[in-house]
C-alpha cells in the first residue's frame, strides 16, 4: 500500500513536469511565431504552422500512449489523478460550440443566453452527488455495463446502447463539422478536405491507445484551448480598462452597452423590442431577461442541460479512469473549475464585442466602417443592409438601395453570424495575426477533444457491449482490441462523411442530445443507485417510456406538426416577448408544405412551432424524464422485490472501500 502511494505521487510529479514543460514549450512556440510574423512571414504560413504543430503534438501523444491492454484501452488503467482528469474532462466537455458559438449566443440573446452557461456548468453537481463516484466504484468500462449488471442483463444493456448512440452520434458529427469549419476558415482549405484532415487528427489520437491516449491528449488540448480563449480577451480588457481580468471589467462594458442601447433608440437608429412589436431586427436590451425564451423555457434549458450533463456517457466515463472513488469526487470539482475558466469568460467576450459593434459600427457613417468586418463579410458572416459586407462599395450601394436610409448604419441593418464573435475579437482589438492563429488552434483543440471522447464512447459501447458482451463473450483480448479499433475507425469515417455533406438538421440536433440522454439514462442511473427496490422490469419500461416520449415530442413537433395538431392536441407556441402565437394553426392544417416555408431561427434552427405547454422541443427531457421516473417507480412497486444478491450489490457500490464490484479480466 505504502509503495503504491509512493509510486502514485511520483507519477503525479512526473506528469506535472511533463505538462509543465509542454505548456512552457507551447508559450515559447507562440512567441516564436509572433517574432516570425514581425519579420514578415505571411499570415497564411503562421496559421498553417499553428495548426500543424498542435496536431502533430496530439498525434505524437496518441502514438506514444498506444496500448495492448484492455483496461488501458477502456479506462486508461484507472490511474489518472483527479487534477489531470479534471483537465481532460474540461476538454472532453467543451466543444466547438462552447469555444466558438457560446459567446455568440450570449451576444445575440443577452441575459437569456446565460441559460447555456448555467446549464452547462451546474450539471457537474449532479454528476458528483448522484452518479459518478458510484459508477466508479462499480468498475464498469461503459455506462451500458452498469445498466446491464443492475437491471438483469443484455436487454437493459441494449437499451442503454441505443440511448448512448442516439445522443452521441449527432454530437460527434457536429464536432467533426466544427474542425472542418475552423480549418477551412483559417487555412483556406476546401471544407470537405478540411473535414477529412480533422478526421485524421481525431483517429491519430484515439485509435491506438483508446481511453489512455485520449486522456493524455485531452489534457494537452485543454491547455491549448484555454490559453487561446483567454489571451485575446485579457488583452482587450487591459486595453479598455487597464485591468487584465475581463471577468471583473465587463460589468463596466455592460453599463456602457445599456447606455448606448438607450441612446440608439432615442436617435431613431434602433427600434426597441416591446410586447406590442418584437419583430426580428428590433433591439432586445442586453440585460433584459426572458426576451428570447419564456421563463418556462429558460429554466427548462438550464434544467435539461444540467441533468443531461449527468446522463451523457462520454462525460460519465471520464470518471471511470480515476484511481479511487475519492479522487473521482475531487476530479468532478477540478473538471468544473477548468470548465468555469472558459464559461465565466464567455459573457465578457459577448459584452466587449457588443460594445465594439454598438460604438464603432452602429450609428457610424457608412464610409467610416472599420476594415476588420470586411474579412468576415467576404465569408458571408457579416451582412449590412441585407448584403454580405464584402467591401465598402458594396455596403454603400446596398444601403443606398434602401429607401430613406439615413447613411449611418442602423441596428436593423447589421446582421452578424454568432461564430464571428470569438474569432474576430483579436482583429477587433487590433492584435497581431499570431493571436488569430492561436484562437484557431484553440477552437480546433476544443472540437477535436470532444470528438475523441464521443467517438470513444460510441465505439466502446459497440465493441465492448454489443460485440463482446452480447455477440462473442469468449473473444480473446487481441480480437477485442482489434474489433474496438476497427469500429472506432468506421464510426469516425461515417461521421466525417456525414459532416462533409453539411447536414444542417443533424448539426442542430446536438442540443437534443442532452434531453435524450436525460430522458433515457437519468432515472435508471439514479434509481439504480439510490433505490434498491427498483427492479429490472421497472427500469426497462421506464427507459422505454421516458426516452420514447422525448423522442416522440422532438420528431412530431418539428417534422409532423400537422399530425401533432390533429391527433395529439398540440397548439402553437407563443412569442416570449409579445405572447402572441408563433403560427396560425389553421394555416398549417390547410398547407401541407407549411414546414418548408418557415424560416429557420438563428438561435435554434430546429425549434418547433407547435407543441404542448408552450414547451420548446429542446426541452423535451422535461416531459420524458418525469415520465421515466414515474413508470420506473410504479412498475417496480408492482413487480417483486429484487434479489438479496442484487441488494447486496447496491450496498457494495455505495461504499468506496474494497475492490470494484465488476472485475474485468485483462
Amino acid at each position: 500500500m505504502a509503495t503504491q502511494t509512493a509510486t502514485t505521487s511520483q507519477f503525479t510529479r512526473q506528469l506535472g513536469r511533463l505538462y509543465g514543460t509542454y505548456t512552457g514549450g507551447f508559450l515559447g512556440f507562440i512567441i516564436l511565431l509572433a517574432i516570425l510574423e514581425q519579420v514578415g512571414v505571411p499570415n497564411r504560413i503562421i496559421g498553417y504552422l499553428f495548426v500543424f504543430f498542435t496536431l502533430a503534438i496530439y498525434a505524437i501523444i496518441g502514438v506514444v500512449t498506444r496500448t495492448a491492454q484492455l483496461s488501458e484501452y477502456y479506462v486508461a488503467g484507472r490511474r489518472v489523478p483527479a487534477f489531470y482528469n479534471g483537465m481532460a474532462t474540461g476538454a472532453d466537455w467543451m466543444s466547438a460550440a462552447s469555444f466558438v458559438g457560446m459567446a455568440g449566443s450570449l451576444f445575440l440573446q443577452g441575459y437569456d443566453g446565460i441559460a447555456w452557461v448555467l446549464g452547462w456548468t451546474g450539471g457537474f453537481v449532479l454528476v458528483s452527488i448522484l452518479v459518478g463516484p458510484y459508477l466508479r466504484k462499480f468498475g464498469a468500462y461503459t455506462v451500458p455495463d452498469f445498466m446491464s449488471h443492475r437491471f438483469g442483463g443484455n436487454f437493459a444493456r441494449f437499451l442503454a446502447v441505443i440511448v448512448l448512440v442516439s445522443c452521441s452520434f449527432t454530437y460527434v458529427t457536429a464536432q467533426i463539422y466544427g474542425t472542418g469549419l475552423i480549418a477551412s476558415r483559417f487555412l483556406g482549405m476546401p471544407f470537405e478536405i478540411a473535414v477529412f484532415a480533422g478526421l485524421v487528427g481525431i483517429l491519430a489520437c484515439a485509435m491506438l491507445g483508446g481511453m489512455r491516449a485520449v486522456t493524455w491528449t485531452q489534457i494537452a488540448q485543454y491547455i491549448v484551448l484555454i490559453v487561446a480563449y483567454l489571451t485575446p480577451i485579457v488583452i482587450l480588457s487591459t486595453k479598455h480598462y487597464g485591468i487584465p481580468i475581463p471577468e471583473l471589467t465587463y460589468g463596466l462594458a455592460i453599463q456602457e452597452i445599456t447606455a448606448r442601447e438607450q441612446e440608439l433608440v432615442r436617435q431613431g437608429l434602433a427600434v426597441l423590442c416591446t410586447p406590442e412589436n418584437c419583430a426580428p431586427g428590433t433591439l432586445k436590451p442586453h440585460i433584459q431577461p426572458f426576451t428570447t425564451w419564456t421563463p418556462l423555457n429558460y429554466f427548462g434549458i438550464i434544467f435539461c442541460m444540467m441533468v443531461g450533463t449527468a446522463s451523457l456517457p462520454h462525460i460519465l466515463m471520464r470518471y471511470f479512469t480515476t484511481p479511487s472513488v475519492r479522487e473521482a469526487r475531487v476530479s468532478v470539482g477540478w473538471s468544473l473549475f477548468f470548465i468555469f475558466l472558459l464559461y465565466f469568460s464567455a459573457p465578457a467576450y459577448a459584452a466587449f464585442s457588443k460594445l465594439e459593434v454598438y460604438t464603432n459600427i452602429i450609428g457610424r457613417d457608412i464610409s467610416q466602417l472599420r476594415p476588420w468586418l470586411f474579412t468576415w463579410g467576404e465569408l458571408g458572416l457579416i451582412q449590412i443592409c441585407g448584403k454580405n459586407a464584402v467591401n465598402l462599395d458594396t455596403v454603400i450601394a446596398a444601403c443606398k438601395a434602401i429607401a430613406g436610409h439615413p447613411g449611418v448604419v442602423r441596428f436593423q441593418d447589421f446582421v452578424i453570424n454568432t461564430d464571428v464573435i470569438v474569432l474576430s475579437t483579436p482583429e477587433i482589438a487590433g492584435l497581431p495575426y499570431v493571436i488569430s492563429g492561436l484562437v484557431a488552434a484553440g477552437g480546433l483543440a476544443a472540437a477535436l477533444s470532444t470528438a475523441d471522447g464521443l467517438l470513444l464512447a460510441i465505439a466502446n459501447a459497440l465493441s465492448h457491449d454489443v460485440y463482446y458482451k452480447m455477440l462473442d463473450p469468449n473473444a480473446p483480448t487481441i480480437r477485442r482490441l482489434t474489433v474496438a479499433r476497427v469500429l472506432l475507425f468506421f464510426v469516425a469515417v461515417i461521421a466525417a462523411y456525414l459532416a462533409s455533406t453539411r447536414p444542417s438538421d443533424i448539426l442542430a440536433m446536438v442540443g437534443w442530445a442532452f434531453s435524450l440522454a436525460m430522458a433515457g439514462n437519468f432515472p435508471a442511473l439514479v434509481l439504480g443507485i439510490w433505490w434498491k427496490r427498483c427492479t429490472t422490469l421497472g427500469a426497462v419500461f421506464g427507459i422505454i417510456a421516458g426516452f420514447g416520449l422525448c423522442l416522440f415530442y422532438l420528431v412530431t413537433s418539428r417534422y409532423f406538426p400537422q399530425a401533432g395538431v390533429t391527433y395529439f392536441g398540440m397548439t402553437s407556441l407563443l412569442n416570449p416577448e409579445t405572447g402572441k402565437p408563433l403560427v396560425n394553426v389553421a394555416q398549417i392544417m390547410a398547407d401541407p408544405k407549411w414546414l418548408a416555408d418557415v424560416p429557420a431561427s438563428a438561435v435554434n434552427p430546429l425549434n418547433n412551432r407547435v407543441g404542448w405547454f408552450n414547451l420548446n422541443n429542446i426541452n423535451c427531457g422535461l416531459l420524458g424524464m418525469p415520465l421515466g421516473f414515474v413508470v420506473m417507480i410504479v412498475v417496480s412497486l408492482l413487480d417483486k422485490e429484487p434479489s438479496k444478491e442484487m441488494q447486496a450489490f447496491v450496498d457494495e457500490i455505495r461504499k468506496p472501500r474494497g475492490k470494484t464490484v465488476l472485475q474485468e479480466k485483462d
Partner: protein, 85 residues
C-alpha cells in the same frame, strides 16, 4: 461491517446529498427567478441578477463540489468505509 453501521453511513450520505441538492436548486433556479428584483442592485458594476447568472452561481457550484468531496470523505472515514482506512 455491521448492517447498522452501513445504514447509518448511507443515512448520512443521503442527508448530505439532499443538502447539496437543495443548494443546487437555490443557485441553479430560485435565485434566477428573482432576477428582476436583484437587477435593481448593482454589484461590481453589474446588475446583481445578471451577475449571479453569469458568474455568481458558477462560483458557488465550483466551491460546493470541493466542499462536497471533503464532506463525503469525512463521512466515509467516520464509518470506516473510506478506501485507505
Amino acid at each position: 461491517m455491521s448492517k447498522e453501521s452501513d445504514q447509518a453511513h448511507w443515512g448520512e450520505t443521503t442527508r448530505l446529498m439532499l443538502i447539496h441538492l437543495g443548494i443546487w436548486i437555490f443557485f441553479g433556479y430560485i435565485i434566477h427567478m428573482l432576477v428582476h428584483t436583484l437587477n435593481k442592485v448593482s454589484f461590481l458594476g453589474f446588475p446583481f441578477g445578471f451577475y449571479m447568472a453569469a458568474q455568481g452561481s458558477l462560483i458557488v457550484f465550483v466551491v460546493m463540489l470541493f466542499v462536497f468531496a471533503k464532506q463525503q470523505d469525512n463521512i466515509d472515514r467516520k464509518f470506516g468505509v473510506a478506501e485507505d482506512d
